[in-house]
Amino acid sequence: MRHSTFFWFVLPSALAMFLFIALPIVSVFTQSLHVAHDQVVEEVETCAVFSCTTELRVNAEATAELYEEAPLGKFAGLDNYANRSHLAFDEVSVVWAQASGPGEFFNGIYNLPFYKALTFTLAYTFIVTPLVIIFGFMIAVAVNSLSALVKGPIIFVSLLPMMVTPLIGSLILFWMIDARGILGSTLQYLMGDPSLSLKASSTLTWIMLMVYGVWHSAPFAFVVFYAGLQTVPKDTLESAMIDGASRWQRIRYVVLPYLMPLTLFIALIQLMDNFRVFEPIVGFNAEAHATSLSWAIYNYMNADSKLLNSAATTSMLTIIGVAILLTPVLVRTWRDFNRR
């Protein structure tokens, strides 16, 4: 295809991505370098009968004018990144100096909002992703051995947790694990503790969110693995059997290596999707015990006085996180591409 034809074909799509994905990243970066204007304060003298007092008042008009002139706010360089809400260099060094061991140091920085969100996001990403792969593979193997008659309905039911809107899915589970909901009261009964509440404990909240994550994403891994299992070369399996390989050995040495590329694909998609974990925290109302980077950004923007600069700074740090996460994949693809 000629360059000019290619250009016109790709133009609408590329333009949409440039305007609404590439430029916003520039916009986020610019916003993260600014802070809100100071409010204009003026001295006002009010004279009563006997004495005059001066007091300080905020001049709302003048403040609004400042924003009219420079909507971005005041240029602040990298101050946003260093302040307490983000990388918090001062606070971290204080904690570092005072902490007696790694545990205490970790507890210290966990109280800082950015590190709290980062900890949960990383824990969620790296715990849920492998569990999704393992769980999805187990379902795929189990379904694969059934007769064709029941496969259709089983696949239908299995798809549901993935298709449902994430916020709605988490709400549905949240209502069930409520202390007065069916799962919540069953757990209370099983534990023999009528005051048990999943919402009150940080550990239980984390587990709940991760269970939701696996529930929501396992169908995706299942479907991909299931399709992969249909194409496993039968000849290789049979010759392994003739050589005396047990069922387990056949899975370990024939099926698993064959499915390896699929596993990498699922891992890549899941890492990208789990790193942006957001809706479950809103749905489970879990922000007291677990916050994620995406949730932190949402929270800044949703505040009454929209903290756009803080949101932008956290966004920028999140984008850096995504970049670090993707680097191995990109380097690998780049090598493969050059070899060709």
């Binding site: 295809m1 916003p24 986020v28 039911v157």
Partner: protein, 293 residues
């Protein structure tokens, strides 16, 4: 494969079947429970006294005289005007699907028919864009949209969702078009068609299976979105998902949780219908990207 290869020990069969049954219960029970519960009053849906109230609707009978009540649905649809959100969602979803597929089909076709190096770079760039958390992009939109008075309109949300959708659509349609033989459009061009005519008359008639599958996923992205719609729309223009989230924040009074339950069920129903009719396309779409690598 021969029957002997599939024969397994009874213990293994039992373990595998019971694992599957547990999974099916996990996957379906929450939906059935919520559907059933949405026709009860709050005292039954959240029942402190006895969990069986939720099944038999003891409080529902006491309060309304019948074991089922549509009060939650009435409250949500009529009193809280959930139908507005439904219409808004409909508008957003229809336009997002149409526009993303138009842009994506043109772009994906070009990417599949060009051998230059920049094709690889464009696809890689799309992959990176695919990884961007949506909420980080939204934080880039807010200030310019406020400044230029673009904030709050359905049309802005539509074009934003189209753009966010493009990386995925491009990848998917790219791999679909690669499966359509090049001879088809090239012979059309030998017969004197321009590239666009070849696309219009040789490719468009055979691309519909791929378009349907990709369209399903565009639909899901637009329908399920919360990050963009929650922050970019005014209250009147809200779509279903942020509207449901709004029920929870502001209304903690007795009975209003049931509005949220009823609207959750209402919003999930179309997805069920979608899975019933398009199960095969969804499965093939999920695997299309994977099997091709």
């Amino acid at each position: 494969m021969s029957q002997a290869a599939d024969r397994r020990s009874p213990i293994l069969v039992f373990a595998s079947i019971s694992f599957l049954l547990i999974w099916l219960l996990m996957a379906s029970f929450p939906f059935l429970w919520t559907l059933w519960g949405s026709f009860k009053v709050q005292g039954d849906f959240f029942s402190k006294a006895d969990w069986s109230y939720a099944i038999f609707g003891v409080r529902t009978i006491a309060e309304t005289g019948a074991p089922f009540t549509g009060a939650g649905y009435y409250g949500a649809w009529v009193q809280e005007e959930f139908w507005r959100a439904v219409i808004n969602t409909g508008v957003v979803v229809v336009f997002v699907v149409i526009i993303s597929l138009t842009f994506g089909a043109l772009g994906g076709y070009a990417l599949s028919r060009s051998n230059y190096r920049y094709v690889f770079w464009l696809l890689m760039l799309a992959l990176i864009f695919r990884a961007m958390p949506h909420i980080t992009l939204v934080s880039g939109y807010l200030l310019p949209f406020f400044e230029w008075n673009l904030w709050g309109h359905l049309s802005t949300t539509v074009i934003v969702l189209v753009a966010i959708n493009q990386p995925f659509t491009l990848w998917m349609l790219h791999s679909f078009f690669q499966n359509i033989p090049k001879d088809l459009d090239e012979s059309a061009m030998v017969d004197g068609c321009t590239r666009f005519q070849a696309f219009r008359y040789a490719i468009v008639p055979v691309m519909w299976p791929g378009i349907v599958t990709t369209g399903l996923f565009s639909f899901l992205l637009a329908y399920n979105d919360f990050a963009v719609t929650a922050l970019l729309l005014t209250k009147e223009n809200q779509t279903m998902v942020p509207k449901i989230a709004g029920f929870l924040g502001s209304t903690q009074t007795e009975g209003n949780v049931m509005f949220a339950v009823a609207s959750v069920v209402s919003a999930t129903a179309p997805l069920f219908v979608l899975v019933i009719f398009f199960q095969r396309q969804i499965v093939s779409g999920l695997t299309a990207g994977a099997v091709k690598g």
